[in-house]
């Protein structure tokens, strides 16, 4: 049926009614799926609006976890009440600093390396690439302790650098950008070399502008990973100086008692900046940059 109707595309514009109904059905379907997907997060938001941690505990494991009778922002206000002992403002600022340094540095370093690996002339590129892919396999949990020794030895313990430098360059993201770069048509590269541009110029003024979708992807993924880092900052920060919010929240999960109200409010607060960060970057890969570059 559709096989016949598709080629007759011009009249489609006038016959707007069926399309609208289809659009509404699609919208309803997407909304339902979205609701199911985010429903676990409703538990979190609802919980953060309950003032009494005993009530949260009593409601857990039933449908009352999805419902709050007397919503209050008390838990969010508590964040600042605690600030004498647990400086959440400071933690938030630390996390933001670490996030931006890691992401900006990471996007540039990884894309530069990926460019050389994809289009450079250095010998041994294939070997380097294979080694990088292999290194991605190493789980972070397995190198935490030797890495800690190295960080201590070079005097970077309890610093911002210790939380930024090890994560800027990443085999995964070099590989991801590399995958994108090798799909770029040869003509584009050749045209630039004919103009006599050196590798950095080609990378900077030709490849970067048409690679925004993948760079935005890397920025988002690296950003989320950095924001939610837990085990490493837990080990490497000794004081509040460079401690991120993910570790700060852990203080609500005490020895015998969990302060659910505070922990949930802090978790919600922790999600907001990274959501904004995601929304800001995802706009960059909305339109198709490659095809337009090829056509132009």
């Amino acid at each position: 049926m559709t096989v016949i109707s598709e080629p007759l595309s011009p009249p489609r514009r006038t016959a707007s009614e069926p399309r609208d109904i289809g659009g509404i059905i699609k919208l309803v379907a997407v909304s339902i799926i979205a609701l199911v997907i985010v429903s676990p997060l409703i538990v979190l938001v609802v919980g953060s609006l309950k003032a009494d941690r005993f009530q949260i505990l009593a409601d857990m494991g039933t449908f009352r976890a999805f419902w709050v009778e007397n919503p209050t922002l008390q838990n969010f206000r508590d964040m600042w009440v605690f600030s004498g002992a647990l400086p959440f403002g400071r933690y938030l600022l630390n996390s933001l600093v670490i996030l931006f340094c890691t992401v900006i540095g990471g996007v540039f370093l990884n894309s530069m390396a990926a460019f050389v690996l994809a289009w450079g002339r250095l010998p041994g590129r294939a070997v380097i690439l294979a080694a990088l892919v292999a290194l991605y396999i190493v789980p972070q949990e397995s190198i935490v302790l030797p890495l800690l020794t190295i960080i201590n030895r070079i005097g970077l313990s309890d610093s911002f650098a210790a939380q930024i430098l090890p994560f800027m360059a990443s085999p995964l993201y070099i590989f991801l950008i590399y995958q994108f770069f090798i799909q770029i048509p040869r003509d584009i590269y050749d045209a630039a070399t004919v103009d006599g541009a050196g590798p950095f110029r080609i990378y900077w003024s030709v490849f970067l502008p048409i690679s925004l979708p993948v760079l935005a992807t890397v920025a988002i993924l690296l950003g989320i990973e950095t924001w939610n880092q837990y085990l490493w900052p837990l080990m490497v920060t000794q004081t509040d100086y460079a401690r991120p919010i993910s570790v700060g929240i852990a203080s609500f999960f005490g020895t015998g008692t969990v302060y659910w109200n505070n922990a949930m409010a802090a978790s919600v607060m922790m999600m907001i900046p990274v959501l904004i960060f995601y929304l800001a970057f995802q706009r960059w890969f909305v339109s198709s940059f490659i095809s337009s570059a090829v056509k132009g």
Binding site: I137, P139, E141, T193, F200, N228, Y230, S246, M271
Partner: protein, 306 residues
């Protein structure tokens, strides 16, 4: 890549070696960082694996023990169970997580009102930290009155018995799979979205002219164009699956009866809780080679299909 030599001759202003120095300058910062903070610690675990070193230094000096640690690991029943579990997890999570991610990416790549809003919404699980995710899902999984069991009761008209999702050896792994796929599919979704953006509209236009329907376009335009993306997603998801740790560590600690014990959790118990750095390093090295082998096999299989 064999055509490079041809283009090299076309360089006019930038001399050959100048270009290479620039390339070196662009590549080295990343390589140096990776060498210092990933390769070096990894290599030092090879040295540690041959000793009985401890987390907290002891009055008894650490000594060289040869391949003892490897022998201990490879003869430990728990290690093999962990390996088996991780393989089961990978096989289950791959289709669920990647399939769902691709479906949502296709949905969100269409013209849709409030598209950006939905993209944000569908990405929410991925930005939630795993610790928080586990707290929420423990509530959903609760036995016998949790929401999942209540839904089960309603759907089956009260026929089905409540399931102890995390406490029943038959259900513990599927439960972990579901939770993991929910938390992590955003990664694959975003990679697929980027991949879909890379497909030229002209391909679809050409297919339309040939009279292809939606389903045909999906199989003959979308899927082949996403080949590189599929390879990437497949390999990355597999590696991530082999690293399964946080959710198990928080929710089940490997239980019930070892049905959710994973290699990284096994290593973590040995190294952090038991303080046996040497043993943990041996596990890390074995894990590395297992995943390396799996990735190589995957690459070969994918290459054959070209």
């Amino acid at each position: 890549m064999s055509t490079e030599t041809l283009t090299a001759g076309r360089h006019r202003r930038a001399p050959l070696w100048g270009g290479r120095f620039q390339e070196l300058g662009m590549l080295l910062p990343s390589l140096a960082l990776i060498a210092a903070f990933l390769l070096l610690p990894f290599l030092s675990s090879f040295r540690i694996a041959l000793t009985n070193e401890r987390l907290i230094p002891r009055p008894v000096p650490a000594r060289f023990v040869g391949l003892d640690n490897f022998q201990k690991v490879l003869t430990d029943h728990d290690f093999w169970q962990a390996l088996w579990n991780v393989a089961r997890f990978t096989v289950m999570v791959l289709p669920v997580q990647c399939g769902f991610a691709l479906a949502i990416a296709l949905l969100l790549n269409q013209k849709l009102p409030f598209r950006n809003f939905f993209r944000g919404l569908f990405f929410l699980p991925a930005i939630t930290s795993m610790v928080v995710v586990c707290v929420i899902w423990a509530t959903l999984f609760q036995y016998p009155t949790g929401p999942f069991n209540q839904i089960l009761g309603v759907v089956s008209f009260g026929m089905a018995q409540p399931i102890d999702w995390l406490g029943d050896p038959a259900w513990s792994m599927p439960a972990i799979v579901l939770l993991s796929a929910w938390q992590a599919y955003g990664f694959q979704m975003i990679v697929y979205l980027a991949g879909l953006q890379g497909i030229s509209d002209s391909l679809y236009e050409a297919a339309s002219l040939d009279g292809a329907n939606r389903w045909q376009k999906f199989w003959h335009v979308t899927m082949p164009s996403l080949r590189q993306t599929h390879v990437f997603v497949l390999i990355i998801t597999t590696i991530q699956a082999f690293k399964l740790f946080t959710q198990v560590n928080i929710l089940t600690q490997g239980g019930p009866r070892g049905t959710t014990e994973t290699l990284v959790h096994y290593m973590f118990s040995a190294g952090f809780v038991n303080q046996r750095l040497g043993l943990a390093s041996a596990v890390a090295i074995i894990l590395f080679f297992i995943v390396l082998a799996v990735s190589l096999v995957q690459r070969l299989v994918v290459r054959d299909r070209k």
